[in-house]
């Protein structure tokens, strides 16, 4: 029996490599590969640095001054597939959809949280994928001092079935008789006798009698954006955009006027599971999900994505404090989330031979996709999820997801560690095992490439849908001698409207302003400066019009100002023949 002295265990724990000293971007190689392989077609923009000093690198491709799609990945360091999918997708998009990039552009930020991505490689201590900000989860005046970790030396951080917890902690769970890999609450009414409690694999490093209750800190960047931000939630951070990474991204986004849609490669989906319309948030003045008119757009994108990918069902991404929520709700553009976590059903279809994949698309009865662990709080609760099961929690998100993950683990021969006895230095006999966290959060390695292909298709759908706003040559109509009607049409040849419904409400993104350079007395009808705010997609037209007093052949000027089209002066000749 392995018995470690308490002191030696603490000494070992102290060596756990919590700090991240090397500021090299863990995805630097992938970024360099994209740049090296595409010559001048891809350019690099640095928009800031992480708290650990890693560059926040954006890659840009496509036409100059064209409407652009922004793709962001790597908000959560544990979602390891995202940055690679982002880089692969950009490379393939350049080859497969070069035509789209002739009059559109794409920005790709492969990894917003390089610090966490670097840290995630270390399996000795539980990581929650957040920023470097420390936290005092157990409210004892110390931060990050009692993280779950690899106690039994198997290279993984699993779950402990603790048969002899400290005095005062009641036993609660049993191994599920139907599937002993799972733990569930004992049903005392049926005579079941609880045999253990389930905790994260941990020591009591701070000697407070609690195990793994103050893990490595961090703010979840995907809860740190200001739209429907949840206050006083440790995972959200002390305030919206408290983290340098999220703030740098928002500052950069706000500095640009060409970003017309956002795609987040992250934790959950809104492409085929769009948020609802019709419900308002607590202020009663902003939608809890989508504005009704925007919901119709989202349903059309859903249809196109389903056709292109064969997806039928996903796990909806959260709106609260998320980047995709902000991009829609406050930045005001169409925004979607592409799920880069493990989705056993989707991943199986991706990896199946074509015939089988086709059958899957037809749709047998499907269960929900796997729901990954939600983060630090959930994990830190004594007896969290992982290998727990029936009788607790929400069936839709917990049990079915776990069943799918266990099934996938069985098929792949990885991802689940059978519970094995271990002599814990302070808890005595325990069993350690369970589902690996990273298994739920990471699709099979072989699925990364096909997922990148699907990301290419999604990006292409969104690029093709971007608003394409232009104004035509002014037309002149002679109404009478010395009296002319001058008109300019503004046209949108994209699918998305020039302003979403939420953007109109926000009044944040710029209009097209047309200012007639004539004295007021020569313009009997029509304001000198007229604005065109929103133009519907699909060839929608809005017009500005003036009645002008002038002489035949006279040239007049119109100043045009817009963040979209830039500033210009348009000259038009007052003439019966002009512009008709």
């Amino acid at each position: 029996m392995l018995i470690l002295s308490f002191t030696s265990v603490l000494a070992a724990c102290a060596a756990w490599p919590i700090p991240v000293d090397d500021p090299v971007d863990p995805f630097a190689a992938a970024i360099e590969r994209v740049l090296a392989g595409n010559g001048e077609k891809v350019t690099r923009i640095e928009i800031g640095k992480t708290a650990g000093g890693r560059p926040l690198t954006v890659l840009r491709a496509g036409a100059k001054d064209a409407p652009a799609l922004l793709v962001v990945s790597g908000l959560d360091g544990r979602l390891k597939a995202g940055p690679e999918i982002a880089c692969l997708a950009l490379e393939r998009l350049l080859g497969k959809h070069a035509d789209l990039l002739a009059d559109h552009a794409i920005y790709v930020l492969p990894c917003l949280n390089g610090d966490a991505a670097a840290r995630a490689a270390d399996s000795q201590i539980l990581d929650v994928g957040g920023t470097l900000r420390p936290r005092d989860d157990d409210r004892d005046g110390r931060t990050d001092e009692d993280s779950p970790g690899d106690v039994n030396g198997d290279g993984k951080i699993g779950w402990m079935r603790v048969m002899n917890p400290p005095v005062g902690t009641p036993l609660t769970d049993i191994a599920d008789p139907d599937d002993p890999r799972r733990s569930r609450a004992a049903d005392r009414a049926k005579g079941e006798v609880p045999a253990f409690v389930v905790w994260r694999e941990s020591l009591d490093r701070d000697g407070d009698g609690r195990y793994g209750e103050d893990a490595l800190g961090g703010v979840d960047l995907d809860r740190n954006f200001p739209h429907q931000y949840v206050e006083r939630d440790a995972r959200s951070g002390p305030s919206a955009l408290s983290e340098g990474e999220s703030r740098a991204l928002v500052d950069w986004m706000l500095s640009r006027s060409d970003i017309e849609a956002v795609l987040v490669l992250g934790n959950g989906d809104t492409l085929i599971e769009p948020w609802e319309a019709g419900k308002m948030d607590v202020t009663k003045r902003a939608p809890a999900g989508l504005e009704k008119a925007d919901h119709a757009l989202a349903l059309e994108i859903k249809k196109r994505v389903e056709t292109a990918t064969g997806w039928k069902k996903g796990r909806q991404a959260s709106v609260e404090g998320s980047l995709v929520g902000y991009a829609y709700g406050q930045y005001g553009v169409p925004a979607f989330s592409f799920d880069v976590t493990r989705n056993p059903e989707r991943d199986r279809a991706l990896l199946a031979p074509p015939a089988e994949a086709g059958a899957a698309k037809e749709g047998e009865e499907k269960k929900d996709a796997a729901k990954p662990e939600e983060g630090k709080d959930g994990e830190k609760k004594e007896g969290g999820k992982g290998a727990k099961s029936a009788g607790k929690g929400d069936k839709k998100g917990g049990d079915d997801a776990e069943a799918q993950l266990l099934s996938a683990a069985e098929q792949e021969g990885q991802g689940f560690t059978p519970f094995q006895p271990f002599a814990h230095p302070t808890l005595g006999s325990v069993e350690i095992g369970g589902l690996d966290d990273s298994f739920a959060l990471t699709p099979p390695a072989a699925a990364v490439s096909p997922l990148a292909d699907q990301a290419v298709e999604v990006a292409a759908i969104l690029l093709a849908a971007l608003p394409k706003v232009s104004y035509g040559k002014p037309t002149v109509e002679k109404l009478s001698d010395g009296v002319y009607r001058v008109r300019i049409d503004v046209r949108n040849d994209g699918f998305f409207p020039s302003l979403t419904a939420i953007a109109e409400k926000l009044r944040r993104r710029g209009s097209l302003a047309f200012q007639l350079e004539l004295p007021r007395e020569r313009v009997p009808a029509g304001r000198l400066t007229q604005l065109v705010r929103s133009v519907k997609g699909g060839g929608g037209i809005e017009a500005v019009e003036w009645v002008v007093l002038g002489t035949e052949g006279e040239s007049i000027s119109i100043d045009v100002r817009s963040p979209r089209t830039g500033a210009a002066v348009v000259n038009v000749k007052l003439s019966a023949e002009a512009g008709r």
């Binding site: 305030s239 919206a240 928002v250 202020t283 406050q330 817009s562």
Partner: protein, 573 residues
């Protein structure tokens, strides 16, 4: 003596002493007039003079810069030789987040002036600066203040920050502000003669326009604030300077601009709130906040929105009520109010942030109430009172109407109240306004938690085991941890440690109602984590079972963010 009586006496002693001294001017090394208002550069100069005169009491530091590069200067007032600044509870006082709401800055200057000259002269002030800290920020918005002083304005304009905002969405920024057409230094009103207008000039006082009665001629219509169509778009004054409300940019129930006008682009997006937030977060000793605005005569607390009603726990409301009602007595014609319920909805307000996110007892005083002009309730601003006011101010705040040939409106009358005509405390009443508000903040500061050991005893139980009991008291109204901080897990919990830790066998709190037993913590008995802290005018008792021998020394250390830490040494009998 009940603790309530004790509090009242302490507060009374502060007020009595201050009032008495105000009647017999205290000597001062710096002369400052409080019957006038100061542009921002003069404000900083006054603070520098005070600091130079009282270097042991005053420290000045720039905590950041405004958008236009003006230093945001915080004055730290405390006896720098009587303990570490961060170990003393601190009162934060600021002003002028809205650039036009100017007189709070003079109250802040008055506070610095009074505290420095009263130190060593008035016992309560000496005690306060020996044991506490006062942080003073004279202006949250020096750019707005400067623009208000330097440019033509109304009493309500130059409220915002100065980041250019395209208010009319025409691609141009701040291109059509009001214009001082008559060159009097203020923006007043324009009236246009119009046979279909709804107003006539009041025959009793032609400076007033009143609604026309049936059949009356010589009618006018209001033509807006003084200005022209600078950008030629057919509108007047529709895109003036700035637009961000720096008191809607704080990360507490922040909402975007379409819900909260002036919110700016995200919480703490603007340099001024960002710098101030950085300072306040770095000073967890701040236990009281006052932020001066104008006008209306209000002592306001949060929350700012109806759906946040109930955010303030009852225990906290009791302390707010106690201080707020005291404020009503100190400040005639002021009323103690709740922002959303009694004023209007505010999302992302400064005191909402300090109260609801940082757990600090916070007030906003809206300085000046017209009733103060007439020294009676119910000012109506009717003609009689306007005339009375003009008699008192000798017409200094009114510009007589005069004809002006407007480029697009034709002949108009321009005139009315100038920018000093409302909201700003009349200069001859300023010092009183300063002193009363200063006195209120001193009562607020006096209510910050002060801890003291009340009981310490050790009883031998036999076999080298002792029961050691200690009791700590907060004699003040503000608890070491506001209930909202406890509920929302804000800040650090109080911690009571015993050394040597190895001697402690068990430890925990004693119930108020049963002194014969205690509730032992299971782990770390020599380090009690006290999320609840010590309440308002409350005592807490703790007992430890300690193994030792006669003469052994035990050291207790009570650490609280918002109170001075207390140590206690006790020898086993």
């Amino acid at each position: 003596m009940s603790s309530r009586k004790l509090f009242s006496l302490v507060v009374s002693s502060v007020l009595v002493a201050s009032t008495a001294s105000a009647q017999q001017p205290l000597p001062s090394k710096v002369d400052i007039a409080f019957n006038r208002f100061y542009p921002y550069d003069e404000v900083l100069d006054i603070l520098k003079r005070i600091q130079a005169a009282y270097p042991d009491l005053v420290k000045l530091e720039s905590i950041g810069q405004s958008l236009e590069g003006r230093d945001l200067v915080v004055a730290t007032l405390t006896n720098q030789k009587s303990g570490a600044e961060l170990d003393k509870p601190a009162m934060w006082i600021d002003a002028n987040v809205h650039g036009n709401e100017i007189q709070g800055t003079e109250v802040v200057l008055y506070t610095a002036h009074f505290l420095t000259r009263a130190y060593g002269q008035i016992d309560e002030i000496t005690k306060l600066l020996d044991s506490k800290v006062v942080y003073l920020l004279p202006s949250q918005n020096p750019d707005g203040r400067t623009y208000w002083f330097e440019a033509p304005n109304t009493s309500s304009s130059s409220r915002s920050g100065v980041r250019p905002v395209d208010s009319d969405d025409d691609g141009l920024f701040d291109e059509d502000p009001p214009n001082d057409l008559d060159g009097d230094g203020s923006i007043t009103m324009m009236w246009k003669a119009d046979p279909d207008g709804d107003f006539v000039r009041d025959e009793e006082d032609p400076r007033n326009f009143r609604r026309a009665r049936k059949g009356e001629t010589n009618r006018y219509r209001m033509a807006g604030m003084e200005g022209v169509d600078d950008d030629g778009d057919g509108q007047i004054n529709e895109d003036g300077k700035g637009g961000d409300d720096l008191n809607r940019n704080w990360p507490s129930d922040w909402q975007p601009n379409h819900i909260q006008f002036g919110a700016a682009v995200y919480p703490l997006s603007q340099p001024e709130p960002r710098a101030i937030a950085g300072f306040i977060v770095a000073h967890p000793n701040i236990a009281g906040v006052q932020s001066y605005h104008n006008a209306g005569g209000m002592i306001l607390r949060g929350p700012g929105a109806d759906y946040l009603d109930g955010t303030y726990p009852q225990a906290d409301v009791a302390v707010y009520d106690e201080l707020g009602k005291l404020g009503e007595r100190i400040l005639p014609y002021y009323r103690y109010m709740v922002i959303w319920k009694d004023l209007y909805t505010v999302h992302g307000g400064f005191v909402n942030w300090t109260a609801e996110q940082l757990g600090i007892l916070s007030f906003t005083n809206e300085l000046w109430n017209d009733s103060k002009m007439y020294q009676r309730d119910g000012a109506t601003q009717d003609t009689d009172e306007a005339l009375t006011r003009d008699r008192m101010l000798l017409g200094q705040t009114f510009k007589d109407y005069a004809e002006f040939d407007h480029p697009t409106l034709g002949k108009v009358l321009i005139g009315g109240d100038n920018k000093w005509g409302s909201r700003v405390t009349p200069a001859f009443l300023l010092e009183e306004e300063c002193h009363r508000n200063f006195a209120f903040t001193m009562a607020h500061a006096d209510a910050m938690p002060v801890l003291s050991w009340k009981r310490s005893e050790a009883k031998e139980l036999g076999n080298g085991l002792y029961a050691v009991t200690v009791q700590i008291e907060n004699e003040k109204a503000i608890p070491t941890r506001m209930r909202i901080a406890v509920d929302r897990k804000i800040g650090a919990p109080d911690i009571l440690t015993v050394a040597p830790a190895g001697a402690v066998v068990a430890g925990g709190a004693i119930s108020r109602f049963d002194d014969t037993s205690f509730d032992p913590v299971r782990y770390e008995p020599a380090r009690l984590v006290l999320e609840d802290g010590v309440g308002s005018k409350a005592k807490r008792s703790f007992r430890f079972l300690v193994r030792g021998k006669s003469g052994d020394e035990l050291k207790f250390d009570y650490v609280a963010e918002k109170a001075t830490d207390r140590e206690l040494s006790l020898r086993l009998p």
